[in-house]
């Protein structure tokens, strides 16, 4: 699509979107009123700068349905991911939204090199996590044969790969490397594997990791970007040239801003990715602050696509980390500890990834005098309780280690909450 044509489309969408949200979502009506904007003042996509930002805090404060614009009866699917504290992040889809998701995911698989008639093994988790179902809808739309293995059960994943010869694999990048190790241990040569195209995402990864995956599996490894607040996977995807991720700016309008000044950064400079969902119905978001740091470029790609390209994620503007595809906020752990009688929120999270293994999370919790007991069984019970509650809050397995007070290093009075030892 030519730039002028795209801009007209984006402007048309935005002109329809704003009155729709304004009239159906009281929370947004107030936000727009507070910004001193009238819906009919939004005439072009350039007017988006007059609109207020939406943050994860807005999602939390208006949990569950406050940011929804569609009528309750029109919501056909919901997904839930972790929130910063207390409430999780809820997203909903109308029938149209599901078809939009199918469309952008079909584009994603195509962009990676997948074709109708190919078989795809979807080893992202199916369930409340958007990974599995997002790929499922896209593959269905594209006309592929789907093997919905979901995550885990590595031996079975490898048997499926050998028996049904899927050309495309979709999972987290750390999992595909882990599967290579398991394959070798089982006497299977990964280089002779059937997967030729990999679509990997939901966690940060790097060029060296790409090289390793491509070498060990003898496949093309591509990066997918998405977040459940926007739609799930299917916001941006690398093509076979792997020179940036094509963002579907006709439906997800991107801005890159300086998180401190909220002003646009220059093309090519790093900043926070802000996305407006131009056509979504259930929970359209205006200028959503993704907290992901990327850069963007608008030149035409060698593949011929004119859509802008974002870089791989270069960092975060908050303290969120991603572990095995799951978003983890230190504040979630703090919340759990405050809820357990006698424990203080003195903790540290250590994330590690041994070579070709999955991420491991250890939570160090300082033992205070109030909860210390001469009986080991009581301390073990406490540690088990903390573990259980953190796992429930985070949806991932953790190891809990009790440590002596003041052992957790503090820098300038502020405790360092996360030690990320992963070499990505």
């Amino acid at each position: 699509m030519q730039p002028a044509e795209l801009k007209k489309l984006q402007s048309d969408y935005l002109k329809k979107l704003i009155p729709y949200i304004y009239n159906s979502c009281p929370v947004y009506k107030k936000k727009i009123d507070d910004a001193g904007v009238k819906p009919d003042q939004i005439k072009s996509i350039d007017d988006i700068k007059r609109l207020p930002f939406t943050t994860k805090i807005d999602m939390r404060d208006n949990y569950p349905y406050g940011l929804f614009s569609a009528k309750d009866k029109d919501i056909v699917e919901i997904h839930i991911s972790s929130g910063t504290t207390g409430n999780p992040t809820l997203v909903g889809y109308t029938r149209y939204d599901v078809s939009l998701w199918s469309e952008v995911m079909a584009r994603t698989i195509c962009c990676a090199g997948g074709e109708p008639g190919d078989t795809i093994q979807i080893a992202y988790g199916y369930g409340l996590f958007t990974g599995g179902l997002g790929f499922h809808y896209g593959a269905l739309e594209l006309g592929m044969r789907i093997i919905p293995t979901s995550a885990g059960q590595t031996a079975r994943q490898l048997k499926v790969m050998q028996d049904f010869k899927p050309r495309v694999i979709a999972c987290t990048p750390s999992y595909v490397l882990y599967m290579a190790e398991e394959a070798k241990a089982m006497g299977i040569d990964p280089a002779k594997g059937n997967w030729k195209i990999g679509i990997f995402g939901a966690e940060p990864w790097s060029e060296p990791m790409r090289k390793e995956i491509e070498q060990v599996w003898n496949m093309s490894a591509t990066d997918v970007y998405g977040l459940s607040e926007i739609i799930g996977p299917g916001v941006a995807q690398e093509c076979t040239h792997k020179d940036g991720l094509h963002i579907y700016s006709d439906v997800f309008y991107p801005e890159i801003i300086d998180p401190k000044t909220d002003q646009d950064v220059k093309e090519g400079e790093s900043g926070e990715l802000v996305i407006t969902t131009l056509t979504k119905q259930a929970i359209p978001l205006i200028r959503y602050r993704t907290r992901d740091i990327v850069s963007i470029r608008y030149d035409k790609c060698k593949c011929g696509r004119t859509s802008p390209r974002i870089s791989k994620i270069k960092g975060r503007t908050d303290d969120m980390i991603i572990v095995r595809g799951i978003n983890v906020f230190p504040s979630q752990i703090e919340h759990v500890l405050l809820g357990i009688k006698g424990t203080q929120p003195h903790y540290q999270i250590i994330v590690d990834r041994k070579a070709h293994q999955l991420d491991e999370v250890e939570v160090l919790v300082e033992v205070e005098e109030k909860i210390f007991s001469d009986e080991v069984k009581k301390l073990n019970e406490l540690s088990a309780k903390i573990k259980k509650e953190i796992e429930a809050a985070l949806s991932i397995g953790v190891k809990v280690t009790l440590v002596e007070p003041k052992t957790i290093q503090r820098s300038e009075g502020k405790a360092k909450r996360i030690i990320d030892k992963r070499i990505i």
Binding site: F372, D374, E375, L402, E404
Partner: protein, 143 residues
């Protein structure tokens, strides 16, 4: 008749036990009885000392997590069946022993054992009723 045991939380880290013992030694505190309960990631050091008030003050001042527990030190005949005879009294009286350990030294022909009961008061009463010899605080301090 009850004695004070000091329990100290120990991270599973090289030299940590040495640090506790060296601190107590420098302060002139003598350890009378000692045991360590260990898990994969931490341990609990339990000690009976001659000057328990000074010991707990010193440990806390040095950022150790420590607390006090009531225990009873019992003289047990140093012969086959000596311990069994005492344990039978507890079993018959429905008294639970959480854990127990031996003294470093003894001050009669009998062996000396530290008992941590689920219900210390109940245990103390039974011991008195049965006339079983327990060690007093004064005796520990003067050992």
């Amino acid at each position: 008749m009850k004695l004070t045991q000091i329990s100290v939380f120990l991270e599973n880290r090289k030299g940590r036990l040495y640090e506790v013992c060296s601190l107590l030694g420098k302060t002139g505190i003598n350890i009378r009885a000692l045991t360590i309960a260990e898990t994969e990631t931490f341990g609990v050091l339990r000690i009976v000392v001659d000057k328990s008030d000074l010991a707990i003050k010193t440990l806390k001042a040095n950022n150790f997590v420590a607390n006090l527990t009531d225990v009873v030190a019992i003289e047990v005949g140093d012969k086959p069946g000596g311990l069994a005879a005492v344990l039978k009294v507890f079993a018959d009286s429905d008294i639970n022993v959480e854990y127990m350990y031996g003294f470093v030294e003894k001050f009669s022909d009998n062996a000396l054992l530290v008992f941590r009961f689920e219900d210390t008061d109940k245990a103390a009463k039974i011991l008195a009723d049965k006339g079983i010899k327990v060690v007093t605080r004064r005796e520990i301090e003067g050992l």
